[in-house]
Amino acid sequence: MVTQTKQSHFSRLIVVVIAFVAIQTVVGCLSGQRQFQYYARMAYLIEINIILTASLALINGYTGQFSLGHAGFMAIGAYTSAAITTIMPKILTGASLDPSTFLGNAGFVCSVIAAGCVAGVFGFIIGFPSLRLRGDYLAIVTLASGEVIRAGLRFSNFLGGPRGIPGIPPFTNAAYLGLFFVASLWMMRNFVYSRFGRACIAVRDNEIAAASMGINVTFQKVSAFIIGAFFAGVAGALFAHMSRYINPDNFGFLKTLDVLIFLYIGGSSSIAGSIVGAGIFTIVPEGLRLVNLESWRMVIYPLILILVMRFKRDGIMGDRDFSFLVPWKYKEMVLKRTL
């Protein structure tokens, strides 16, 4: 490993940020054109999937819980934000929020944050069983919670019931997505490379040892659930305003499985793993569609997952992270341990 200087570390970070802004600008400019709409949508979907996968990584990868209810958090986020931008204004003024007005945009930003907060509350509720249960039982309970959320959404006529919410205004554009994407990843990265993140890893590796080192295991587990759910809610809100139509069946168990596959193939305990996993495996099916093998996508993914679990359990990235994501202070520490 080449040792970096502090200067080269930060200049690399700046290069990455500039490159991202440039790509996002190009995508944003092209998304207006009809023939590029599809590609722009792909780019947006990749970013949303990366946020989702990284938020699941906080729970499953870093804290070592096994949550199968992630689509439920996403659903909560999507429905909360759609309620704020579509249902409530329709009741109050007769029309959903308008993307061209300042008020509409302010409402959208608030709705995304509110989506995260409400999902976080659900994360708190669902995170509680993790104090008593572990491993397979926790997996089943979180799966059940996700399904209960979905059943609840089908049940509630206020939120459209099984028919879902149509006509959500198209707020998600390149600028907003870029902003929320960078902000979410940056916050998650800060969580992961902080005292909090190290405590989570300690809980994952050995709960009893972590507790005896003075780590509050309960606090770590529940807050990992809350933070993971928060960002899943944000991703759900962005998804709702991209697809413009949501229904409860968008957020079933298969959605969770997709995210799990992104996570475990990419590598569950690094942000880079989430980026690589979600990035590659959102694009691959489009390639398969070109060669008319689209129905095979769902056959190939689980096969890859099985093979990864058998031969390379840590996924593509393992616990390596992109160099620009690792804070300089942490990097010095890590370098000393020659990791």
Binding site: F66, P129, R132, L133, G135, D136, Y137, A139, I140, V141, L143, A144, S145, E147, V148, A151, G152, R154, F155, P162, I208, F253, L257, L260, I261, Y264, S295, W296, M298, V299, Y301, P302, L303, L305, I306, M309, R310, R313
Partner: protein
């Protein structure tokens, strides 16, 4: 006064009818739940793919019944899949023989140069693959013609038992192959990897079977195997007992008796209980743990396959290869409710789940959907060991 009695009678008739319906569904869940509980008891793994073996059972029954009714040609794709699974088992068993292992272990010799090692590795795998293809070329046609012959006979009243036996065999083969391919290599690793693999296997089976050349994702109406008739009425109440209900109960009772005999009275059952109790100690006592686990993965799926037939008979329709998810989840919840690892517990739990589902569904179909999961969450928070489960201290 007379009016109230009438209403009272109608109400109790309704309740009794719902309980009977619940028991009918519950007997289907019980057969799935037994498989979950057996496998969990032995290797502490939630076999998510179990629900999909249930689905395979239902589809195999569908193809066989429509073949014998003359509605469709004998499904060749089925025999290719199962032929492949059998061939895999044969080839891997042959390759595990000590003599062949001795020859193959030469690659591990440190004196051999790296590229020779690589060449040998490639040769070894190519040989393995060739053997697999060759054996499949024998097993698949053999299976195809033999089963086509059996099912083109006019079996009459024997048809149903033969169908059950055939589906049980097919599901057992798939179960053993699944364990060999996916779970055995992971047994010494973290349990979470096995759980993720189980999810992967489940997802794979669902989507593979949805492909057009396998089962296809179309909605299929299951041909009427036995005409539904009322064979008895409960005196005084407006309640009918159908022959389908009786078949459900009889099949469940027969298989339970068989399973009880197997687990409690035979040597292999004793070995199974020993492995469930303590795997390391069992292997020290000379029990072949791998064989016992394979055996468990044969029994559980075989029962799930029968349950698939019951499902097809009860509902008369196969929605898509994803149909296993909800019955599978409910059966798993039943296993947890009864105390995982306990066979009578699984059956009791399944009846409770079936009855509660029927009552919840009669209030609202969305509620029936959520009721099972709410039961699960409550059970795990209040009494995680279930009704008949033994409390177990977490080992540190």
């Amino acid at each position: 006064m007379a009016g109230t009695t009438g209403m009272h009678e109608a109400m109790s008739g309704y309740i009794v009818q719902q309980v009977i319906n619940g028991i009918q569904i519950g007997s289907m869940y019980a057969l799935i739940a037994l498989g979950y509980t057996l496998v969990y008891g032995i290797i502490k793994l939630i076999n998510f793919a179990h629900a999909d073996i249930f689905m395979v059972g239902a589809y195999v029954a569908f193809f066989l019944v429509s073949f014998s009714a003359g509605a469709s040609p004998f499904p060749f794709q089925l025999s290719i899949l199962i032929g492949l699974a059998i061939a895999y088992l044969i080839v891997s068993a042959v390759f595990e023989r000590p003599f062949i292992q001795q020859v193959l272990s030469k690659t591990r010799d440190t004196s051999v140069s790296a590229h020779k090692k690589a060449a040998f590795y490639v040769f070894q795998n190519a040989l393995w693959l060739c053997c697999l293809v060759m054996v499949t070329c024998v097993t698949a046609p053999a299976l195809f013609f033999s089963s086509r012959f059996v099912f083109s006979l006019r079996l009459g009243p024997l048809f149903f038992p033969v169908l059950i036996a055939y589906v049980m065999t097919v599901c057992a083969v798939i179960g053993i192959a699944m364990e060999r391919i996916a779970y055995r290599p992971l047994r010494k690793k973290r349990r979470l990897s096995a759980l993720i693999t189980a999810l992967g296997v489940s997802y794979f089976l669902e989507n593979f079977c949805s492909l057009d050349f396998a089962f296809g994702s179309a909605y299929r109406a299951f041909p009427e195997l036995i005409t539904k008739t009322d064979i008895a009425r409960v005196p005084g109440l407006d309640v009918a007992i159908t022959n389908i209900f009786v078949i459900n109960i009889v099949v469940l009772a027969a298989l339970l008796a068989l399973l009880w005999f197997l687990v409690e009275k035979t040597l292999i059952g004793k070995q199974m209980r020993a492995v469930a109790c303590n795997r390391d100690a069992a292997s020290l006592m000379g029990i072949d743990v791998n064989r016992i686990i394979s055996f468990t993965f044969a029994i559980g799926p075989a029962l799930a396959g029968v349950s698939g037939i019951l499902y097809a008979m009860n509902y008369g329709v196969l929605q898509s290869p994803f149909l296993g998810f909800f019955p599978g989840m409910k059966a798993f919840i039943a296993a947890v409710l009864g105390g995982i690892g306990s066979l009578p517990g699984a059956v009791i739990g399944a009846f409770i789940m079936g009855i509660s589902e029927v009552f919840a569904n009669s209030i609202d179909s969305n509620l029936g959907f959520a009721a099972a999961f709410i039961i699960l969450i409550v059970i795990l928070l209040v009494k995680p060991t279930g009704i008949l489960g033994k409390s177990e201290q977490e080992k540190v």
